[in-house]
């Protein structure tokens, strides 16, 4: 079953449940299993290239790495935190708390990534509008903002080309940090202009508060969604149960 075939709303529900679990269950095996499971689904079922998954993991790994280094630097406090959480399987390891925090950041990021990679933002916005979870004006503003993100790359490229022309040097293949910094204000101005124009365009084409509206190409629920929610729920319950029982491994004594 491909995640991209599913209705966005049950998928959003499952993603939120997994995200919540990744925050609340402070267990290294749980976080690793969750991360590996999502990576497996993305690569095997969704055919996302391995390099893309790894590349997208980088920001979450960097975020998690901050936790890891902090826990290594303040090991004693981390041990206390781990004791308080009642986890002990990896307690013998000096950096177990840091590892758990690291994988928690990665697992949380992967859940969001899996949702984003397998969901058409237009379909999500439509589904939210149809269920009255979001008013059309807000939904289309959100939709426009989502579509703006890739356009920023095009605008940044145009600005880089214009600057290259002024300096008389061809643009570098990958912009350096100074160049990226210099792009921030013009891109912000572009985003503001674009938002203003989109607002006028939407108003001129009849978007207003209230009134009946048609939503075309609305995603429809199917038996696949029920199976997906059931299987995902079962899997999450098993993982939580595993984490609570210490994965069937004898519990060692606390750190002394």
């Amino acid at each position: 079953m491909m995640l991209s075939w599913l209705h966005p709303l049950p998928k959003l529900l499952v993603a939120l449940a997994f995200l919540l679990a990744s925050i609340l269950v402070f267990d290294l095996v749980f976080q690793i299993a969750l991360s590996l499971g999502i990576i497996l689904v993305l690569i095997v079922f969704e055919r996302v290239p391995v390099w893309k998954v790894l590349l997208l993991c980088v920001p979450f790994a960097l975020f998690g790495f901050g936790f890891l280094t902090t826990s290594l630097l303040f090991r004693q406090e981390a041990g206390v935190a781990l004791d308080a959480s009642g986890q002990s399987l990896w307690h013998a390891l000096p950096f177990s708390a840091g590892l758990t925090l690291f994988f928690r950041a990665v697992a949380g990021g992967l859940v969001s990534m899996a949702f984003a990679l397998t969901t058409d933002p237009g379909q999500l916005v439509r589904a939210l509008m149809a269920r009255r979870l979001m008013p059309p004006r807000f939904a289309y503003a959100l939709f426009s903002a989502l579509e703006l993100v890739p356009d920023l790359a095009g605008a940044a490229n145009e600005i880089r080309l214009a600057r290259a022309m002024r300096t008389g040097r061809p643009p570098r293949r990958i912009p350096g940090p100074v160049e990226i910094g210099a792009l921030v204000v013009p891109l912000l101005a572009f985003a503001v202009r674009r938002a203003g124009r989109a607002a006028i365009a939407m108003e001129a084409r009849g978007l207003a508060a209230g009134g009946a509206r048609t939503i075309i190409n609305l995603p429809r629920f199917s038996w696949r969604d029920a199976i997906f929610v059931g299987m995902a729920g079962l899997l999450l319950a098993m993982l939580i149960a595993g984490a609570r029982t210490g994965w069937g491994v004898p519990v060692s004594a606390g750190a002394g």
Partner: protein, 568 residues
């Protein structure tokens, strides 16, 4: 699926039977911090079924007038207004702009202003969804609109941001006509369209329902004037200068329009030449073909035939003079060898491009919308890396299709000074800046922010910045005439002549075939992912099978060239 949300609190009342569709009553608009009114006071009315062409120089307030039509000015775009606007007999001041979406289709000057940043299908369906049309009807209307503008079904799922400038304009047009509006309002609908797409728009307008009304602003008149009933001309001061049937306005006011830098159709110039030899038709023809048909129908005697030939020769010399070719031994400026060109983050659109450009040479890059003309322009300038092949030569300068991308300063004067400073010409900077501002008629706007300008003024500023930087040996002009009035177009022609005199090579990306014929001795015809032909412009443009293959149309002046050949 139709979702019933709470009903709107304000809908326009029903139109009164005999009231004009549209009426500006002493309407005047002034933008915040502006010293003069952007337009007006204007008094004009349009009856049901009228097709009106609104003309005027850049910055005369045409776009402001169109924005005010449904109340976007001042409700969405802040401005101080006086007088009133009535649509279908109802004052727009009492309604929201969105209330008119079912009856008024608005196509803005900048396609990005019409589009909301969605996929093509969603863009076209958006207004219909807002109007709660049943879903099957929406799908049928989307299909019909795509077909009407000549876009293939395969673009449905593409994001509009990934389309070329001309393709975006077609999507915006499809989105505008999909609602089958009673009043079509279009601001420069053909500015970035290929000749064949412009013809589609013309057909669309000529087949517009009899009771449907249309108000069009466009600088490309040929192909439009013969399907409108009335022409309204705004002057520099934003006041109505002329109003009447096109045959009357262009004959009686031709000199006044020329003097103010306002475009007139090519046929008006031919009519003037024929009038000078007492061979003008009783009523002014609106196309070159019509003028020549009338001439032939007269059965000219020997003397008259000689006078007609003289008039036609003068007309052709004035509007399509044989451009000077660059010397074949002039230094090479840029060379592409087996080049494969792709837009930023896009697939390869042109392959196996071999091209040499020499000093003093002007080359036209022609092709249908999405043929890869702009991409080739950027690749020629060295601003876009080739996917395959080799480029030899120093970096060039480009005037972008979207001029806003080039602006970075807080005022027009500062923008020009920055362009001069980058050319290491700081010593004579103030004098140079003043000269460039004067040359491009930007003096009175010098203190304004670039983003406050009209589209035509923005284009002039971008071209002025390019002219200020004299380092590049290659200049690429991407749709330099889009949004420009006749005076602006003359400035571009003068600039190109200056580049040639300075021994710079110039590549011109354009859909204006007459402009290409006038300016470019040589052109490349692009299509089907490659260069279809590379040769003398006048020869290629009269090659009908090639023009059809490239989805192009010959220049409007070609019938005159044919007539002269027949009557040689």
């Amino acid at each position: 699926m139709t979702v019933a949300l709470p009903q709107p609190d304000a809908t326009p009342a029903l139109a009164r039977e005999h009231s004009p569709v549209l009426a500006f009553e002493g309407f005047e608009a002034r933008y915040p911090f502006a010293t003069a009114a952007a337009v007006g006071p204007v008094d004009l009315a349009m009856r049901a079924g009228e097709r009106v062409l609104l003309l005027g120089p850049s910055g005369s307030g045409k776009s402001t007038l169109l924005l005010a039509l449904t109340g976007l000015v001042p409700q969405a775009v802040p401005a101080q207004t006086q007088g009133g606007v009535r649509l279908f007999g109802v004052s727009v001041a009492g309604c929201r702009p969105s209330d008119w979406a079912g009856r008024v289709g608005q196509f803005f000057q900048d396609a990005d202003q019409t589009l909301c940043g969605m996929r093509v299908e969603d863009e076209i369906a958006f207004a219909l969804e807002n109007l709660a049309w049943p879903e099957p009807q929406i799908h049928a209307a989307v299909k019909k609109a795509l077909a009407a503008v000549g876009l293939p079904e395969t673009v449905r799922r593409r994001r509009t941001a990934t389309l070329s400038g001309g393709e975006k304009q077609l999507v915006a047009l499809a989105a505008t006509i999909a609602v089958e509006p009673q009043l079509l309002v279009a601001d420069e609908p053909t500015a970035s369209l290929s000749p064949s797409s412009s013809r589609r728009f013309r057909d669309l307008l000529s087949n517009w329902p009899l009771e449907g009304t249309a108000l069009i602003v466009d600088h490309r008149l040929d192909g439009l004037v013969d399907v409108v009933d009335r022409v309204i001309v705004l002057g520099d001061d934003g006041l109505v200068l002329a109003d009447g049937p096109p045959r009357v306005v262009f004959r009686r006011q031709r000199a006044a329009l020329d003097a103010r830098g306002i475009w007139t159709p090519l046929a008006a110039a031919l009519d003037h030449e024929l009038d000078a030899v007492d061979l003008a038709a009783q009523t002014m023809p609106l196309t070159v073909e019509e003028a020549l048909d009338e001439l032939d129908a007269r059965g000219l005697d020997g003397k008259e035939s000689g006078r007609a030939r003289a008039a036609l020769t003068a007309f052709v010399d004035r509007h399509a003079p044989p451009p000077a070719r660059a010397a074949s031994d002039a230094p090479l400026v840029v060379r592409l060898e087996a080049a494969a060109c792709a837009p930023f983050l896009g697939p390869v659109v042109l392959s196996e491009v071999d091209l040499d450009m020499r000093a003093g040479e002007v080359v036209g890059l022609l092709g249908a919308n999405g043929a890869g003309k702009s991409t080739l322009g950027f690749a020629l300038a060295g601003l876009l890396r080739l996917k395959a092949g080799r480029r030899v030569g120093a970096m060039g300068s480009v005037s972008f299709q979207n001029p806003e991308a080039q602006f970075s300063a807080g005022s027009i004067a500062a923008e020009i000074e920055a362009a001069l400073a980058s050319a290491d010409d700081a010593a004579s900077l103030p004098g140079q800046a003043a000269r460039i501002l004067r040359d491009w008629d930007l003096e009175r706007l010098a203190s304004r922010h670039p983003f406050e300008l009209s589209q035509g003024e923005k284009r002039r500023l971008a071209l002025a910045c390019l002219a200020a930087d004299e380092r590049a040996r290659l200049v690429v002009l991407d749709e330099p005439l889009a949004g420009l009035d006749r005076r602006g177009a003359a400035m571009v022609e003068e600039a190109v002549a200056g580049y040639v005199r300075a021994g710079r090579a110039v590549a011109i990306v354009t859909h204006d075939m007459d402009f290409a014929l006038r300016m470019c001795p040589r052109c490349l015809i692009l299509g089907q992912g490659r260069v279809l032909a590379d040769g003398p412009t006048v020869t290629l443009m009269r090659d009908r099978p090639l023009m059809e293959l490239a989805k192009l149309e010959p220049p409007r002046i070609v019938p005159a060239l044919d007539w002269l050949e027949r009557h040689a």
